[in-house]
């Protein structure tokens, strides 16, 4: 199929008009069919993907490229392409899309609105991972934020408005800086002005530099680097820009939490990989130690905050912050193991945390609260749910044999080469991680049965359909991680060669 990338991006969007011709209860079916078709359409992408091409800084080695002029007067192109950095993220987005539709099965308020926002979000996320033109990238990026705001603000929990506004303001701030940075990069690009980010990367690789003026007495590249960094850091999120995340998660409906944790957080680290670090390798060197510090803070601080939570969803949200810290650590190390591990961790965190949020959703739908101390002994009431939850928690803890371990191991081996002490400190995060996960598990599932929940319903079929595929992925990638790693290894080894000299 020609134009496969465009098809993948816009198939979800094609579902939106159909929503308005069908009864509103059918909305979920439209969304399900759209996301499944999208997945099926994308299969050739993964089958025909050439794993030996480097991509990253070489436009000729990107695959499935689509390019035509969009705004010729400004030199903006509609430019899509895929390389090792994006391929696994596309796969993740497609999987999480289907899973999240299943998690939306109980939505019964303004279904049309919900699913149209949902499908728009899905399209935009896929677009971000494929766009190679800065303006197109920025457009998808902004389009992605807008439905998110409504999905939290309209379909969320009691404090949804506060959470939505907080989310919006945080990300708006990031976006403003990003837009200014993009304009600056365009204007002062090495050689002719261009929005083509790969072209820019190629020129930087060839020795080109951004020759902008000093801004507030700081070097141009450093200012641009930091502006971009903050824009992406808010998404990751990196301390101290992280407090929107727990609120957004707690208020968002389950499916949106799944997307938020599963895909949206990866936008930030994807941005680092695609633009921020490779475009400014020297500035990256300058920033690197600081980045490691941030990574360690994220890992430990996130885990400590998770230990203090009594709301299960908030705990999972903080665990996300901690786990995303590992991605940062791998990126900061910039060794082949570090960056491969980081991208694998992006994928694994997406699937594992999606599972965790789905499972929180299951219990919340039944008990209507998420207080860790408000349950007890339900392992004997709902054994299947308890078993699946234990697998998910163990994956989050990083138990060997499950996927989370592989990525954390790669990241830590990679970062140990460059930063020994921070790596060992990060190890503390793993111990704390076991602490909060086991604490929560013990309080909820073990002990005497709480009389209030002795008739709790077992996990139902739709919920199983959403969780079990993720369980399978997590186990499979724990045993055969190379099946995924080989998709991006060549690209990321090349990426790492930009830095390691």
């Amino acid at each position: 199929m020609s134009h496969i990338l465009s098809w993948i991006i816009f198939i979800p969007l094609l579902g939106v008009p159909i929503l308005f011709f069908l009864p509103r209860e059918k909305g979920k079916w439209v969304a399900l069919v759209a996301t499944i078709i999208d997945f099926i359409v994308a299969i050739p992408l993964f089958l025909e993907y050439d794993k030996s091409l480097k991509g990253v800084t070489k436009l000729s080695e990107f695959q499935f490229i689509e390019q035509f002029q969009w705004i010729p007067s400004l030199g903006v192109d509609y430019l899509l392409g895929v390389d090792g950095i994006s391929i696994s993220m596309i796969l993740l987005t497609l999987i999480i899309g289907v899973v999240a539709v299943l998690a939306s099965w109980n939505i019964n308020k303004y279904e049309r609105g919900y699913f149209s926002m949902f499908l728009l979000l899905q399209s935009a996320m896929l677009g971000v991972f494929m766009a190679l033109d800065l303006i197109l990238f920025y457009l998808f990026w902004e389009v992605m934020l807008f439905p998110m705001y409504f999905l939290i603000g309209v379909w969320g929990g009691p404090r949804r408005v506060y959470a939505a506004i907080k989310f919006f303001l945080y990300t708006l701030l990031g976006s403003i800086g990003m837009l200014l940075a993009i304009l600056g990069m365009w204007y002062f690009a090495p050689g002719d002005s261009t929005f083509n980010m790969i072209e820019m990367l190629q020129r930087v690789q060839a020795g080109g530099t951004f020759n902008g003026p000093l801004i507030f007495g700081m070097e141009f590249v450093k200012v641009i680097f930091i502006a971009l960094f903050i824009g992406f850091a808010i998404k990751v999120p990196i301390f101290p820009f992280h407090t929107w995340l727990p609120d957004a998660h707690v208020e968002a409906p389950t499916a949106i939490s799944v997307i938020l944790a599963g895909v949206l957080l990866k936008m930030g680290t994807y941005g680092f990989l695609r633009l921020n670090f490779p475009l400014f390798p020297e500035t990256f060197e300058w920033f690197r130690d600081f980045l490691v510090a941030l990574a360690v803070i994220n890992i430990i601080y996130g885990a400590l905050c998770a230990l203090a939570q009594r709301d299960l969803k908030k705990m999972v949200a903080y665990s996300s912050i901690s786990h995303m810290g590992f991605v940062l650590l791998g990126l900061a190390a910039a060794t082949p193991q570090g960056v491969n591990g980081a991208v694998l961790q992006m994928f694994n965190h997406g699937t594992i945390t999606a599972m965790l949020f789905l499972l929180v959703g299951v219990i919340y739908d039944r008990a209507h609260h998420r207080n860790i101390d408000g349950f007890g002994g339900i392992a004997s009431v709902t054994p299947v749910y308890a078993t699946i939850t234990s697998i998910a928690y163990m994956a989050a803890i990083g138990l060997p044999g499950l996927s989370g371990f592989i990525s954390e191991l790669l990241i830590l081996t990679g970062s140990f080469k460059v930063y020994q002490v921070p790596t060992i400190l990060s190890g503390l995060g793993i111990i704390f991680g076991a602490g909060y996960m086991l604490y929560a598990y013990q309080r909820i599932f073990f002990g005497p049965v709480n009389e209030k929940y002795k008739d709790l319903l077992e996990i139902n079929r739709v919920e199983l359909f959403s969780v079990v595929p993720l369980v399978i992925i997590v186990v499979f990638l724990g045993i055969f991680p190379n099946t995924l790693i080989e998709f991006f290894e060549v690209s990321l080894n090349h990426y790492s060669s930009i830095f390691v000299k």
């Binding site: 945080y170 708006l172 230990l307 002994g377 138990l399 081996t413 086991l438 013990q442 055969f480």
Partner: protein, 706 residues
């Protein structure tokens, strides 16, 4: 493909299949075919694995010693750039031995569990977990590289967690499981740091790093020349691995989880917390003896930690009343002996003690389980007594195992423990020997105390229970008897030279594990000796060295035999002959105090609570508050401030700007109506708000990083 290469991968895979079948369909299977057949299914896969293990062993010993190492590659696992970790197994004399211990004792305990877990609702779940445990343990043993070993290492930890908390409706059990997991995690951080260290330095000098033991063995000498932070690399790495061993094998200071782990069903205590999992640390050192041999300082450290663990946990064991707690502290203490052997470089002696301990401690635990079931789940020895008449098989088996653990002449413990004490004297120091020697006496005391309190004297349980006490069914007692028999005879595998034997066991291990011939302390003194750290064969010279010490060896042996018999007699006197004397002594205030100190385990748990747990709790509360109050405080303030400014500016627009617009024609001409509209209203509020948030962020940045 030889038999070994084909069959060995099935050893861990079979129990795994069993675990999966029982895990997914166990409930239905149990409902349809009943408990007994479910149990048979549970025993089937370990049994087959045991058959393969023993068959492979007999194939192995027909080969020439130098051909006894097999590596079996299955497929790739993790490969990125120079890192290339394989799914591969290593079958050699050491892992062959461990396979037999794990599958052999494992199978016996599975059979035993069929009786012990009788009438438990989650019978199937128990067998599923314990099958899974076997699979993980076998992976640990068979793993050809550090990462697979770590997989098994964590896997057994998980199963231990699941099985300690098996009766999870009691919160204490679940708590104990969590404690075990977390203490192990601390050790695991050490283990994995060790992996990173070896990887880091290996990757600096070689193009490919598989982390396999064969590869490490080849590179160890080269790596020993590297250093990190001015310390020899291998010393740091060995220390890291030993920290891992401290967690898994319950050495000071990470031992406190093991006694609590007795909350699990007794077969679990026997299999996991006595015979197999807790000895993983010893196995690991044996597996990487080449690395530890190059780290003499760490070996010294190991031997001292081990000796202290051995002594202190033995003393705690004297003051426990819970029959399983006595055995738990005894296990910690015996693990101390094994590490003592490892620490003085007598690797084969340590592994030999691992073997004999697996037999006698499993027998003791299973015997105690048999007693506990007979008494309707009473574990307090103060409510036992006189059980030998009613439970002869259990009783005599436990007595046999007790003879072994005290080191009574010609039992297995006699050979293995004496070898350790001898090596501790020769290659460690007389002080190490003295500690181990004292602990041996204490061991004999608390074990005979256990036997006399449980099986002799008057019954102290209520009449109803006493009337119903009976010997357990065959499937429970036969495995105990088999292990007790092994506990008596296994020692003959390794009769030392001075007693006219051939040290057959040491020879058997020699292709893969070679003992140090020089004391670690001497290795430190003469670093030039490092290059000749391990001699490939016993030289004539070293034999003659041993000749010279025969007399000393005899003396020490006789001393320890007399000493253990003496302390055993003390127990006999206090707990059988004359309990009155005991009561008189115990009425002294100092005796009470001492007993209290021992039975409260030197207040180590309380110390952990104060020194580690409370501060961590405080820290995470502070972090959480910091998030809520400080960071969100700034964010909310920025939002609030922004809204306020927007309001003021709206007022300003309406009243003043618009007033001016209306009042002065020149301004309206200049700015224009449209522009004025754009300026006022919502858009402006939004821009104002976001600018203010921006300022808020800059404040945040300044606050944090400048």
């Amino acid at each position: 493909m030889s038999f070994i290469q084909t069959a060995i991968p099935f050893v861990p895979i079979l129990p795994l299949i069993g675990a999966l079948i029982l895990g997914f369909f166990g409930k239905r299977i149990q409902a349809s075919v009943g408990e007994f057949k479910t149990g048979i299914l549970g025993c089937l896969t370990p049994g087959l694995a045991a058959v393969i293990s023993f068959a492979s062993f007999f194939v192995l010993i027909t080969l020439e010693p130098e051909q006894r190492v097999f590596t079996i590659h299955l497929t790739d696992w993790i490969s990125v750039a120079e890192l290339d970790v394989q799914w591969a197994f290593r079958y050699d004399p050491l892992s062959a031995l461990m396979l037999m211990i794990v599958t052999g004792i494992g199978t016996l305990i599975h059979i035993y569990s069929m009786g012990y877990m009788h009438d438990d609702q989650s019978y199937w779940r128990f067998f599923s977990y314990i099958n899974l445990f076997l699979a993980a343990m076998l992976l640990l043993v068979l793993g050809d590289n550090l990462v697979i070993m770590f997989l098994g290492w964590e896997g057994v930890g998980l199963c231990s967690y699941l099985l300690i908390g098996f009766w999870f409706s009691d919160s204490d059990n679940a708590q104990a499981g969590k404690k075990a997991f977390l203490f192990n995690r601390v050790g695991d951080l050490g283990f994995i740091t060790g992996i990173f260290l070896l990887y880091l330095f290996s990757s600096q000098h070689y193009d490919i790093v598989t982390l396999s033991f064969g590869e490490l063995d080849q590179r160890a000498l080269f790596l020993s020349k590297s250093s990190l932070w001015d310390y020899p690399l291998l010393e740091i790495a060995a220390l890291c691995f030993f920290i891992g061993a401290m967690g898994k094998s319950a050495q000071i200071p990470l031992y406190v989880w093991l006694p609590d782990a007795m909350a699990g069903p007794t077969p679990v205590s026997a299999l996991i917390h006595a015979a197999t999992m807790v000895t993983a640390g010893v196995y690991m050192i044996g597996r990487m003896y080449f690395l530890f041999a190059l780290a003499p300082n760490v070996l010294m450290f190991v031997s001292w930690i081990a000796a202290l663990t051995c002594f202190f946990s033995a003393t705690i064991g004297m003051a426990q009343f819970d029959i399983k707690k006595v055995l738990a502290y005894s296990t910690v203490s015996q693990l101390g002996y094994m590490f003592l052997a490892m620490g003085v470089g007598a690797f084969s002696a340590g592994i030999f003690h691992l073997l004999t301990h697996a037999a006698f401690k499993a027998a003791l635990f299973m015997g105690s389980g048999s007693v506990i079931v007979a008494l309707h789940h009473k574990q307090d020895m103060r409510e036992m007594g006189g059980l030998l008449k009613k439970m002869p098989v259990t009783g005599w088996s436990m007595i046999a195992a007790t003879l072994a653990i005290m080191g009574f002449p010609l039992t297995s413990g006699f050979f293995s423990k004496d070898e350790i004490l001898w090596k501790a004297y020769m290659q460690g120091s007389p002080a190490l020997w003295l500690i181990g020697f004292t602990a041996a006496g204490i061991t004999s005391f608390y074990m005979w105390r256990l036997i006399f309190m449980t099986f002799f004297g008057e019954s102290r349980c209520d009449k109803h229970t006493w009337d119903h006490v009976k010997e357990q069914p065959k499937r429970t007692v036969v495995p105990i008897a088999i292990l007790a028999f092994l506990a008596l005879v296994l020692g003959f595998l390794n009769i030392p030279h001075f007693l006219g034997g051939h040290s057959g066991f040491t020879d058997y291990l020699s292709p893969v594990v070679q003992d140090l011939e020089i004391a670690p302390s001497k290795l430190i003194e003469t670093s030039s000796l490092i290059d000749t750290h391990v001699s490939s064969t016993m030289t004539d010279e070293s034999l003659s060295v041993e000749e010279d010490h025969t007399q000393l060896e005899w003396t020490l042996m006789i001393l320890s035999v007399l000493w253990t018999i003496f302390t055993g007699l003390i127990a006999f006197f206090f707990y059988y002959l004359s309990p009155k004397t005991r009561q008189i002594i115990m009425s002294f205030i100092w005796a009470k105090k001492l007993f209290q100190l021992l039975s409260d385990k030197y207040y180590i748990d309380e110390l952990y609570e104060i020194v580690i747990i409370t501060p961590i709790k405080a820290i995470f509360q502070i972090c959480s508050l910091h998030d809520q109050k400080v960071i969100d405080g700034i964010v909310n303030f920025a939002g609030f401030f922004g809204k306020w400014i927007a309001k003021i500016s709206a007022v300003f627009d309406n009243q003043i700007v618009d007033g001016c617009v209306n009042g002065t024609g020149w301004l309206s001409q200049f700015s224009g109506q449209g522009f004025s509209r754009l300026q006022s209203g919502k858009i402006q509020s939004l821009v104002g708000a976001s600018l203010l948030v921006g300022i808020g962020f800059i404040v945040l940045l300044v606050f944090y990083f400048i």
